[in-house]
């Protein structure tokens, strides 16, 4: 009995001690501690770097909720206009948003890895196709079978190149999510992440290889304006993506001279690519003329193009008197009707003018020159028409007089 009394005594002492301890807490301190712990968790969420850390933070939030649930009434009053539940809820929302970011980053990483594999595969296919194209061009003897084979390879190469362009472009684009691009200054963690991705996926090498292959494709093929327009659009899109990411990469690699040099090289390659498209257009135009037997001097810009055509017309005009008429007419028709009017003017001049490669008045000047050439080959015979008209008019007058005299004679006979 005494033992039981002693146990009860100890129990009550503990209870009193505990209750006095509980009662002796400062509400202000409790509120401040809660606020501090919320801020700490918020900071943890912002600084979290892995899914494991996020799980730990979730546990911390639950712990916070459990620890302070008995003070919820006090906290609701003291935190006004905030509420205990709302603050815990805000932490959960913040955590969910961060988890979403993590998921987006993980997805991007997976996507980049996949893209990388596909780029490797496509690079191999491209190389094979380019080799085939080179071989076939060497052996090309214009048989229909080989032409079909060549066209098919060109078409495959074009598709494969485009696919790889898109993949590499996506890889470049995914280096920096839009949120990172908008930051005025990248954090050291951001920079490390970007460097790691660039190195891991060989992004700079891939970009250079893609541009060089595109230039090689232009060099190997003779393209039509619609093909060039398509290539130009792809090139512009790629260049835009690079323009968004390139300067930020230059910031990241400001300390690394080799990488900075590579970035500069890529910028130069984009300029060369743009020039290569223009060169290809001029080359294709020259080939169009050559296919019709019109051999022009070389040209690689609008001014040289106009000069080359005008020179050709002038030299042809000089031969009008010395060559047979039929030959002169044939030359003119080949140039003016079969090439200029049928191919260059409808197909190429809109492309050239639209891309600022040829001025509208230069085109007009060429057409005026062609008209002059035409007038020299087909001189106007207006005087012949005047004589014919004169004869016709005189004949008509004579006819009317004859008819008039005839009618007077008939009237006299009747009378």
């Amino acid at each position: 009995m005494k033992k039981r009394n002693f146990k009860s005594y100890i129990f009550y002492l503990l209870l009193i001690g505990l209750s006095s301890f509980t009662a002796a807490q400062s509400d202000y301190a409790t509120v401040q501690k809660f606020k501090k712990e919320c801020v700490e968790i918020e900071q943890q969420i912002k600084e979290a770097n892995s899914v494991d850390e996020m799980n730990l933070i979730l546990e911390n939030i639950e712990q916070l909720r459990t620890n302070y649930s008995r003070h919820s009434e006090l906290l609701d009053k003291a935190l006004y206009p905030e509420k205990y539940d709302a603050m815990i809820g805000d932490l959960n929302i913040l955590l969910a948003l961060r988890e979403k970011d993590f998921k987006a980053v993980e997805d991007l990483k997976a996507e980049v890895s996949d893209l990388n594999n596909r780029v490797d595969t496509l690079s191999i296919i491209n190389n094979e196709l380019q080799s085939s194209l080179e071989e076939i061009q060497l052996l090309f003897d214009k048989t229909s079978r080989e032409t079909a084979s060549l066209n098919s390879i060109i078409s495959e190469l074009k598709i494969a190149l485009h696919k790889r362009d898109v993949l590499v472009m996506n890889m470049v684009d995914s280096l920096m999510p839009p949120v990172m691009r908008e930051k005025p200054m990248l954090s050291s963690e951001d920079e490390e992440q970007i460097m790691s991705d660039v190195e891991k996926d060989n992004i700079l090498v891939n970009v250079k290889k893609t541009i060089r292959d595109n230039m090689k494709y232009l060099d190997l093929t003779s393209l039509q304006p619609e093909d060039l327009t398509e290539i130009q659009e792809q090139q512009l899109e790629f260049a835009d993506t690079w323009a968004r990411i390139g300067p930020r990469l230059a910031e990241v690699y400001s300390e690394d001279k080799n990488r900075a040099k590579e970035l500069y090289e890529i910028d130069s390659l984009f300029s060369l690519w743009t020039t290569a498209i223009e060169v290809e257009a001029w080359q294709s135009i020259k080939e169009e003329f050559a296919a019709k037997g019109v051999m022009l001097d070389n040209f690689s810009d609008g001014k040289a193009f106009v000069n080359s055509i005008n020179q050709y017309i002038e030299s042809e005009k000089k031969t009008i008197e010395v060559v047979p008429e039929e030959e002169a007419k044939h030359s003119f028709e080949q140039f003016a009707d079969q090439t200029w009017k049928a191919e260059i003017e409808p197909k190429w001049t809109p492309f050239l003018i639209e891309n600022g490669m040829l001025a509208e008045n230069s085109k007009d000047a060429i057409e005026e020159n062609i008209d002059i050439w035409r007038s020299e080959i087909y001189p106007s015979k207006w005087w012949l028409w005047v004589i014919i008209s004169g004869f016709l008019f005189s004949g008509l007058v004579v006819l009317i007089r004859l008819l008039k005299n005839g009618s007077q004679y008939y009237e006299q006979v009747v009378e």
């Binding site: 006095s20 301890f21 009662a23 807490q25 509400d27 202000y28 006090l74 009053k77 006004y80």
Partner: protein, 150 residues
């Protein structure tokens, strides 16, 4: 008789017209104390309840030295009835004020320790204000003094 009745009625009407309107069951209590740093002029500002006052007379009353406020914090809480309880670290007393017109008027000065209260804190406990110190010693205060000692 009639005249005196009229006087009584008029008196009653005049009395009822002059009596002030009173709203009952007002509760002025703050849920938690405010810990207010004293600025260089001796003023404290409570943002949530929009109260600002000068503490120099309080420090003079406690220490007989009005410059003793430097670097101090004042702990302030209001009870249900609207009395303000004020103290600071190492104060010997808790000061109870009631609001006047543009002033706080001392209602009571409750002596706690002759040696000063170490790390005091107020808690709102409904019918009283709880004061605790660094040793977790607790006092139940009303504007009249320490409950149980009265």
């Amino acid at each position: 008789m009639k005249r005196s009745l009229l006087f009584i009625i008029a008196g009653l009407l005049a009395y009822s017209g002059c009596s002030s309107l009173t709203l009952q069951s007002a509760n002025f209590s703050w849920p938690v104390e405010s810990v207010l740093p004293v600025n260089s002029d001796g003023n404290v500002v409570e943002q949530r309840y929009s109260i600002e006052f000068n503490t120099l007379p309080l420090f003079f009353e406690e220490y007989q030295d009005s410059s003793a406020y430097a670097g101090k914090e004042v702990r302030l809480i209001r009870d249900q009835q609207g009395y303000y309880y004020m103290t600071a670290n190492e104060f010997k007393n808790v000061y109870v004020f009631q609001a006047g017109e543009g002033e706080l008027i001392l209602e009571n000065k409750i002596s706690i320790y002759e040696t000063g209260i170490l790390r005091p804190a107020f808690n709102q406990r409904g019918t009283y204000i709880e004061l605790i110190d660094a040793n977790n010693k607790s006092f139940s205060l009303t504007h009249n003094g320490i409950e149980g000692e009265m």
